[in-house]
Symmetry: C2
Subunit: 299 residues, 2 copies
């Protein structure tokens, strides 16, 4: 079967069947990061790889500095989604021999800028010839206090769903310059008992069902309150993708205290309650009216 007939989640599930687990692996594939450590260690190690590809994640004419920023910021966003702090990155750059050096150095300027901003050390990598599009792959190591690590899977029925910032319209430019929510994710994980969290990379429409599924829940989404970027329709806010905002689940009783503390800590960044997790009654709920769509690499 061709990949485009399957969709991204089905492809990933088929590929990961039977991959060997190992000693010290707290969480393997399926969360924002892999988590390595011992069950009683003070800190756990977070591992993430992510890639950006010319014509898929950026265009040939995009500024090289912005391409570099995006390549690293995407991986940082996944560390943020576990409540963690990024530490070291390795960069793989595959680029045509016919490209000018200044494009490659421009990309590294963006990588360095992003690394400095988020306290990341670039400790190595690989530079190879690409016979096709430019390709940047980032491997990022981070850490999180064990007791503050937030998975996708800890949500339960009745949990409120909240999202940081505003959604939609990222392809207008923000997808190249966004600020991963490291401070926010860390603050949330340290001051509140979050039940589940992830970052929104493929759009709320693709990612919210993933968080619900990982938590063994259904969900209710109040589309009318989804925080939108200026000029975006509800549909665009839900399906555009590349928002890199945080989506998380928290006990209903904590929401009011969170609202007050958040407004004091991050007065300029909206925090919006957009729905809740629900119990799965028998088989997964399929409500056509609330069917959501987001970005799918293969569909």
């Amino acid at each position: 079967m061709k990949l485009k007939a399957m969709g991204e989640d089905a492809v990933v599930a088929a590929l990961l069947r039977g991959v060997p687990a190992g000693r010290g692996v707290i969480r393997g594939p399926g969360d924002d990061c892999a988590v390595i450590g011992s069950p009683c260690a003070k800190y756990w190690r977070l591992l993430k790889t992510d890639c950006v590809i010319e014509t898929v994640h950026f265009l040939p004419n995009d500024a090289p500095e912005k391409i570099g920023w995006k390549a690293l910021a995407r991986a940082i966003s996944d560390i943020a989604a576990m409540g963690g702090r990024p530490q070291q990155a390795l960069i793989t750059l595959a680029i045509s021999r016919d490209q000018e050096l200044r494009r490659a150095t421009g990309i590294y300027t963006g990588l360095r800028k992003c690394a400095r901003t988020y306290g990341v050390a670039i400790v190595g990598g690989e530079t190879a010839r690409s016979p096709g599009p430019l390709f940047i792959s980032v491997a990022l190591i981070g850490e999180v206090k064990r007791l503050r690590c937030v998975f996708r899977s800890g949500g339960g029925p009745g949990d409120k769903l909240l999202v940081t910032g505003r959604l939609g319209g990222s392809l207008g430019g923000r997808h190249l310059t966004f600020q991963p929510r490291v401070k926010e994710g860390h603050w949330l994980a340290y001051h509140f008992r979050l039940h589940a969290m992830m970052d929104l990379s493929d759009g709320l429409g693709a990612d919210l069902p993933r968080l619900a599924r990982a938590s063994g829940c259904g969900y209710l989404l109040d589309k009318r309150v989804v925080p939108r970027n200026p000029g975006c329709t509800v549909k665009e806010a839900i399906s555009n993708g590349e928002d890199y905002e945080l989506l998380f689940a928290i006990a209903p009783g904590d929401v009011e205290r969170l609202r007050v503390a958040w407004a004091r800590e991050f007065p300029r960044l909206p925090l919006t309650e957009i729905g809740e997790l629900t119990a799965l009654a028998g088989k997964p709920r399929r409500n056509k009216k609330t069917a959501l769509h987001g970005y799918d690499h293969f569909a």
Copy 2:
């Protein structure tokens, strides 16, 4: 300036200028792996990324299982070259939507097989659409006892240079099925005081000068004794690349004891003394007669 006018080492040097270092970084770019840890920890963490690209590192008709094996084995070889053990891997696969699922699952079969063989856990990754060639990037974490970690940079004048196995002709097929020298590298680092080590990926002709340069030395190579694979000329053995054998430097007084112990431990794998490191007299020695060539991604 175009990349192809510069050559790989010059491109990498230009890109890495000014990348931010960080706390706990024992070794950044420029060795087989990055090394993270504290100066007195018992173990250090090794980080490596590596990629294989269709038409550059493998051909469209190569067996998917072998492509997967190669993608992971290359990174494992770099962990071996520090005397370390590989632990966890993350896989990024970029593949066209028009490809069949069985090609992707075949690649994962090879990745899994290699992971099992070398005790590696595949803990995550990323699957994305490629508009061009198939691309696999591997991030690999490993560890090494601090006191046994071998860098490229520790060699000194008079050190003997030895190489495991035989060189050349890898493109005939071995580049897809080679066995990274983890056991051998680990054994060497634990039983002998190696001064410097690296794995041969671009060919002795490109890699030996890198080891010598990292150690601040020149080198003498006795081309006549370079161990060759059947059917290979001396030139091919030196310049073909993709051997994934270990090259290391050791004090002359240790060579005899090593020879005896090696023959007992690895009776079927040759170990050959091929030359020595020399003092740099003023500026780097440029002896046309011993000028070497290996694989260069951009030249």
